[in-house]
Symmetry: C3
Subunit: 251 residues, 3 copies
């Protein structure tokens, strides 16, 4: 589900779970473990990338709909574990958004140090409301940190999927580059930062990201119970099952 590519001391972790890099329990755990292992083994920076045209389609709704409450709670905790690991990573992490990146794909990117998007007719955004979901407070906070409280309100309440150009305008991503350069630019960003005096760069990075990391310490901000309750609500189940039906028909 993951490919590792070495660019000297920068490791690229490429999501490779066909067809759409959907986030199921196994992928979330493997991605989290791989990030931990790579940084433990000396990678000085990480690039998270996807397949050409698609970073990740977000949650694997069809598979997740088969989980019972216990399974869903466990998956959701693992997802928070992954996001916290990205937020608190001892080394910089850049997301190379190689294509579309809605919902869960955007969520992962929020917690990275930097977001580079491939040029093209690609869309991203936290469109959870459109499928009947409510993002937990901790993800709301990460979005507020990136684009401000009011822009976050408008974006989340509308459940917007937006073109990459609009995402750049509101600050949801940092750069748009030709698709074939997205990984290379991400690696170059890492190298520029690794060339800085190391203690100063790392300590400053920790200072600036302390609020993002700290948000995971507040159980209320995670609100696992609230999310699981919402997931099994009639409205959400009906909306997601209708979505899955549509996906099957189009397949």
């Amino acid at each position: 589900m993951l490919e590792l590519l070495s660019h000297d001391d920068v490791t690229e972790i490429r999501l490779n779970r066909p067809p759409v890099n959907a986030l199921n329990p196994a992928l979330v755990r493997e991605l989290s473990d791989t990030i931990a292992r790579q940084t433990a083994e000396g990678a000085r920076a990480l690039v998270l990338s996807g397949r050409p045209g698609l970073f990740s389609a977000g949650l694997d709704v069809p598979e997740l709909l088969d989980l019972d409450e216990e399974g869903m709670r466990s998956f959701w905790k693992d997802l928070f574990g992954l996001l916290e690991r990205i937020a608190a990573s001892p080394v910089p992490i850049v997301t190379a958004l190689t294509g579309h990146s809605p919902a869960g794909g955007t969520v992962i990117a929020l917690y990275a140090d930097y977001r580079i998007q491939a040029e093209g007719d690609f869309r991203l955004g936290l469109n959870e409301v459109q499928v009947g979901l409510v993002v937990p407070p901790v993800i709301h906070q990460a979005l507020v940190r990136l684009i401000g409280p009011y822009a976050a309100e408008r974006h989340l309440v509308a459940g917007e999927m937006i073109p990459a150009s609009r995402a750049l305008e509101i600050g949801l991503i940092d750069e748009i580059v030709p698709a074939e350069q997205v990984v290379e630019k991400a690696v170059a960003w890492c190298r520029r930062h690794l060339a800085l005096p190391r203690r100063a760069m790392q300590t400053t990075r920790a200072l600036c990201r302390a609020d993002l990391v700290g948000s995971f310490e507040d159980g209320k901000a995670l609100d696992v119970d609230g999310f699981v309750r919402g997931w099994f609500s009639d409205e959400t189940q009906a909306t997601m099952r209708a979505l899955v039906e549509r996906l099957k028909k189009n397949a």
Copy 2:
């Protein structure tokens, strides 16, 4: 003082207190009561609009100058009650700024979900300092939430009245549309949001607006005493009485 217009499940509340929709105690109470009643009676969204060319000129200074301390304190509490009701509304509220909207007119708009401004040579802004007033902390916080702490500092300290185009640039309003479309666009905004899965939209809206609603729980942020003290200070009384004289001469 208010007209109600029904656009299916969206109710438009049109301020209609000639000549300038000035906010006196009666209008503030009636607007607050009407919002409560409409949402209780099933309106799924509200649009607050004004007269062509003028949303509201803000506080009715001539009438308020006749109030004693007790009367002023009571008015100010009612005004906070109105603002909190808008902030905490269970349904979305859009302000259709049909024209000029200085001071109190802008304040009301701050607490709505969305602000659409009529195109034209219209001005708005929190120009309280120009008339010798200091906005209370809770209003400062609402402005910070919308445009950021530094832009809020510059705007409030200068007591700026700004053209709508500048208000759009700094994020004080969301859109400028031809005057004859301002209500229609506000209704359309509501309909787009009402078409979303309801529980998800409402819960996300509550999450994103919790800080705005919460600001009213802090008595220090309301600072009714501070405002009333300021209102009756020599500088403020002199500035406002000079203003009223000028208005009379121009009338």
Copy 3:
């Protein structure tokens, strides 16, 4: 080290410590004392300016490298004292950035009410990381207040020195004007604000700046120990000594 120029009730304090207005212990103390004395003696606003082409090159690294731990701790407390005095000044302070203004030069400007930059090929920014330093939390907070948490992260972690035009884009400065007008525009800004009703302007100013002033009350945000420890770390000492060698060779 300082020249005082009177523009009626606005006093200009011009940094004049050749060759580069570097911040050594004596200049920091004198600037702090002068600000206190001028406001006590009735200046209604202050303009801080520098030499043509250079506001300040920041810390006087060669001189500071000769200080022992006690001396460095004392200098750093004095610098915080200066910044707090600017933040909490009873009268508005505008920085007239007459030219380059990296690191410490930018830091001083962060705490002023307003920043006007001379047009020209000038650079500024918090490039501390480039020389092995970590800005303390209180300075990070002041930058966040001005440009937002994410822009602050990117700027600080990279230790960026940026052209004035870029500083304007991200909100680090407010205006760029022809070099010969920078002081005059700063004085005019003060006069416009002094023409406002005084109590209202001053009270609003205090309300809007309370967060900036309050940040100095938190010992953890100052983190004098952390800075001093970092200053004497091997990496930082080596980076700064190499820098001083380069400066000597170029002199």
